[in-house]
Amino acid sequence: MRERMADPILTVPTGSGTAFERWRERHLRILMLAPTLLLLAGLTLFPTVYMLTAAVQNVSPDPDVPREFVGLGNFARMLTDPELHVAVRNTVVFTVVAVTLEFLLGLGLALLFDKYIRRLNFLKTILLVPMMIPPIAVALTWKLIYQPQFGVLNELMFRLGLPSQAWAGDVNLAMATIIAADVWEWTPFIFLLMLAGLASLPSEPYEAAQVDGASAWRQFWDLTVPFLKPVIAIALLLRIMDALRLFDLVFILTVGGPAGATETLSLYIFKVAFTFVDIGYAAAISLVVLFATVGFSTWFIKRMRLAD
């Protein structure tokens, strides 16, 4: 029978030292974890409990006015708030279009690099640069690009003999400008994950498929996509969750305008909480968004069978 090695950390001295020393040794793990646990509790538990309680209360900006319990009143307000409905619609449109484009471009680029330009590492580095730039800097850069009078984009349009555009100032183009900037910034993220996924694929199934005369498309559809499914699912999940929180690009480029065309949920929650100082209502909206995101993520993970 194999003898169990004594774990120096797990070993609890029993017969020596004072009672305090023995207690300390026995609870050393808990003691060492306690500061971190307390910090985490403070940073996550407190805000969550605060949000849950505020969502069912009317929280006055006046600290001397006691909070008033309003039950589901704040949630009911959401049903008749037209600005919120616009924000939800815009957020969904943005998420669907931006994440779809990022996925298609990211996957396409990854396939291209994996198949044909494996050795050009500097190109990969260049492609990853947008993702590494701070989001505010990205937004400011695109603001300058879109500037109707001095921006590079209209200069390009002029040189091509095309009419200049108002871009972020055009109600029909504003959302597209936000999506374009987001696609530029986050396609590299999908590209990176896909490239890593492709690099880890086994070569044998492809060799067998080639022997069987499978076309490149069949190989991609029947081998690459199923093999990549977990990576695709993770990439999409992360991007969708991030896109639902879109704030910085909109805040810098359009402040939700023109005519509410780019108002997003995060921007609206920010306005309700910090401009209108209506903390109860902002907490209620945040809570619904949180549950919707968690619900969607759970469904998505099950649907993609990630748990397997």
């Binding site: 006046d62 009078q149 108002a166 402040v255 939700g256 005519a259 306005k271 910090f274």
Partner: protein
Amino acid sequence: MVRKFCLALAVAASALAISASAWADITILVPSGSEGDGLRAAAADYAKLKGTKVEIVQAPYANVFEKAANAGQTKSGAFDIVLMDDPWIPFFAENGHLENLDAYFAKMGVPGPDNDFLGKSLAVCRNPYNTGPFVCIPYVGNAQLFFYDGAKFAEAGVSGAPATWDDVYKAAKAITDAGGGRFYGYVFRGGQGNNVVADFMPLLWSYGANLFNADRTKVTLDTKEAKDAMTMFMTLKGISPKGVESFGPEDVGRAMTSGIAASSINWPNWVATFEDPSQSQVVGKISYAPMPAGTHAGSSEIGHWTMGIMSAAKNKQEAFDFMAWATSPEQIKISATRGNPPVRFSVFTDSELTSQPQFRHYPTLMQAINFSTPRPRHPKWPEIENALGIELSKAVAGTESPDQALANAQTAIEKIAGISQ
């Protein structure tokens, strides 16, 4: 031993970091930009002079309100003084975030700020407006001016300062028509929210309209005067550059400094930029005028930066002493040389300043302040401004007719203000 030393060092460093702000005698929250920079410089002078440690917390415009509201709501005492934009005053005062300054003035042996301050500058610091107790002291004397290229306007048939919005339109249209899509007679902030509202309000007032009636029991955007103002606003939009629908102050400033646009409503702190050869192609070409008239006398939007003491402040008397010092005639003059418009008659008329080109707009600015109008003094102004800003943005973007936008704004503001029709 080493481990104990490192642990002690870490604890000490954490304690130092946490209590850094607590060391300050006074902590002041200020906005980014010239207003905050000016007060930061004054605070440094004060610290040297009095030996008082003054901590300045600087944040972007929107975040100053957010931080101050949060500090007020939680009674955190994080800030002793807040440099506030004047439309925020009703919110802070009516929610108990600001200290009534009457007792502090009484302790000084005076009833309130002295008469050298302009009347309109003091009026915004009382809550209710012009009648209530002082809850702040004015520091930066902002009021909108009408900026225009005198030579271009003269060439377009309007000599001297345009007296009416019709004059502005006449000259601006001629400039736009001759500009071939590259030069424009007028430019404005059309971006949703505060931007479009700030450039619409002077037109509203100059046509004799307002958002509310005198006792704030009725929203008055359904009047003929409001519709006339909206008509002129949209007419001017028609001769403005492409993309004004998303323009903020920087876009308007850049259009003017590059010579692309010939006129705009703007804040006086842009004067320094316009007169700086490193930033402007129109140095010496821009003239500054009071707001043109519509069917009524023109009126600028007042946008003073004022200093108030937070109710939960830890060092209220020290804070008041600093405010009294920073708003003295000598300090307001120094503040003016740092690019912040003054709030005192003696500084506006100081020949040492007015003889210099960069202060040549002072007589006009003083006149603009004296004939200015505050934004509606309502504790829910941020919400009202948002609702009006969305509807104006819809009108400017063309997704709603101007009349429909006014009607929708009327309904939205009535709902926010709790006014039944």
